[in-house]
């Protein structure tokens, strides 16, 4: 049985990755998870300089999901190169570094710093809903998406994955724009902007007022968007958004994702990634799927089955 998938010239031992921002750089979860079993670790976003992030409270639970407004707190690229990359290099998994910035120059600076680092791919966060400048501002206009993608591609030594926001009218427009800009792959979806109000205090629960919603409640939205993008572009997709079980991951692959990322599920069960990998294997055995690549984009109307 083959669980390996290929994307951007790389072979992943299985399609399961961690979603950026939910797994740090892997060190904390290494007490619960065998990092060697992961297809890839996608790190928390890193900028050119350290960011302090937003005031607290930064998270809130909602029915079937959660909101976060961390604000891309990160230690900056210098410490990240000195500490986080050497830690990840000790494991036999692919390293995907998520890059964030307030300006195009910020992103480019990080991408250049990573050029000679043992990093397998770059994931560019143009979709964070929780920072005032940068982030989502770049991800909601197809012209800007194409421009920033092209600018990053000029300087990137590794394949570039653009991470798209679902907070747009038509995500396929953004997917096409990223592809036109030279993106090697796409990650989708980032969180959906939400809000929670404390009715007892009559105030916002999050200090940032709004936050990004994740968790099982957004999974059908993510599946729909992955499916739409799979029809719209020819580059590989990494599907994410509320993947809590192997069934969720398989749905995403059938919708057209080459790989999947598990995020919020790790908060509910620190070993979620491991259980999802085992569950995918069980599904393949039960349905006698010899190669997981048979499942990518294999959804079809029942009458044609």
């Amino acid at each position: 049985m083959n669980m390996k998938v290929e994307m951007c010239g790389l072979t992943l031992k299985n399609p399961v990755m961690t979603a950026s921002g939910t797994f740090g750089s892997g060190e904390e979860y290494a007490e619960f998870v065998d990092l060697d079993r992961l297809g890839a670790v996608v790190t928390k976003g890193v900028a050119n300089v350290p960011w302090e992030g937003n005031p607290t409270p930064r998270v809130a639970e909602v029915y079937g999901g959660m909101l976060n407004a961390i604000g891309l707190q990160n230690p900056g690229i210098d410490l990240f190169i000195e500490r986080d990359i050497p830690f990840l290099k000790k494991s036999d998994t692919k390293i995907i570094v998520n890059v964030c910035g307030h300006t195009v120059e910020d992103y480019v600076e990080v991408v250049k710093r990573l050029a000679d680092q043992p990093v397998d791919m770059l994931e560019i966060n143009i979709s964070c809903p929780n920072v005032k400048e940068g982030g989502i501002a770049f991800g909601q206009n197809p012209h800007t998406v194409q421009q920033i993608t092209a600018e990053i591609k000029k300087h990137a030594a590794q394949p570039v994955i653009m991470k798209l926001s679902p907070n747009v009218t038509d995500i396929t427009e953004m997917a096409r724009a990223a592809e036109a800009g030279g993106a090697d792959a796409l990650s989708l979806i980032n969180t959906l902007t939400g809000m929670k109000i404390d009715i007892h205090k009559r105030s916002f629960v999050l200090a940032n007022r709004t936050g990004g919603m994740s968790g099982p409640a957004i999974h059908p939205v993510a599946v729909r968007m992955v499916y739409q993008c799979a029809q719209a572009v020819n580059i590989p997709l990494i599907g994410m958004g509320g993947i809590f079980t192997a069934e969720d991951a398989i749905e995403m692959i059938l919708a057209g994702a080459t790989a999947v990322a598990v995020g919020t599920a790790s908060f509910t069960n620190p070993r979620a990634t491991m259980e999802i990998i085992s569950g995918i294997r069980d599904y393949m055995e039960a349905y006698q799927v010899k190669d997981i690549r048979e499942l990518i984009g294999a959804v079809h109307d029942e009458k044609h089955g």
Binding site: G21, G24, Y29, E31, I70, Q73, P270
Partner: protein
Amino acid sequence: MQTTQRKFQETAIIIRQEEIADNIYSMWLRTEQIAAHAAAGQFVSVYCNDGSRLLPRPVSICEIDRKDGAVRLVYRVAGKGTEEFCTMRTGNHLNVVGPLGNGFPKKERRAFLIGGGIGIPPMLQLAKELHCEKQIVLGFRDDTFLVDEFKRYGKVYIATEDGSAGTDGNVLDAIRENGLCADIIYACGPLPMLRALKEYAAAKHIECWISLEERMACGIGACLACVCRSKNRDVHTNVKNKRICKEGPVFRAGEVEF
């Protein structure tokens, strides 16, 4: 301080549970590995069985029974998650991860152990483990709880906001009214109480250790949800904040701003 202890994911069995005051519950859990490794002042993440509630509830450890492999959690029902926990009975299962964070450093010096409201429970295990002269000061809004259990480990002073028991006022009023003094403070409770104690300790030039809380997601230091501002740049975050779940929840009062 650096966390070096191991963390465990366990399916805990509820040994017994009772309501010890209005909306305050005491639950003993069989958790062999967590009990064997836990220290006073650490906490555990308790996961809901209801799948619509994703995030673990951080609950401080009130008592550790290492011989019987059990921990005691005393918590206030404050929302849907704790409402679920409080209906559970002997023999029911709960997923728990722990022990998490750093506990109180044990220094055998004339000590104040100060708890306010739902910050009182973690002071009980510390009271059990410290063998020095202890003055235990507990602040309540109205109903008191755990008072008799604390009395087994030291002299207990009480303050209530409604004046129904002990000193009419807060824990500092109780300290002043009884003319108490000590060389070190250990405290857990609401932020206004901790701020007042930080100021009191600075004025008296005594060491002060406080336990903070914040809304958490992962509980193990990965997500950066539960940070507090710090006086200096933190080694891990590389900015002026610290992770309460990892570097805390117990901090030296002077190193954090709250």
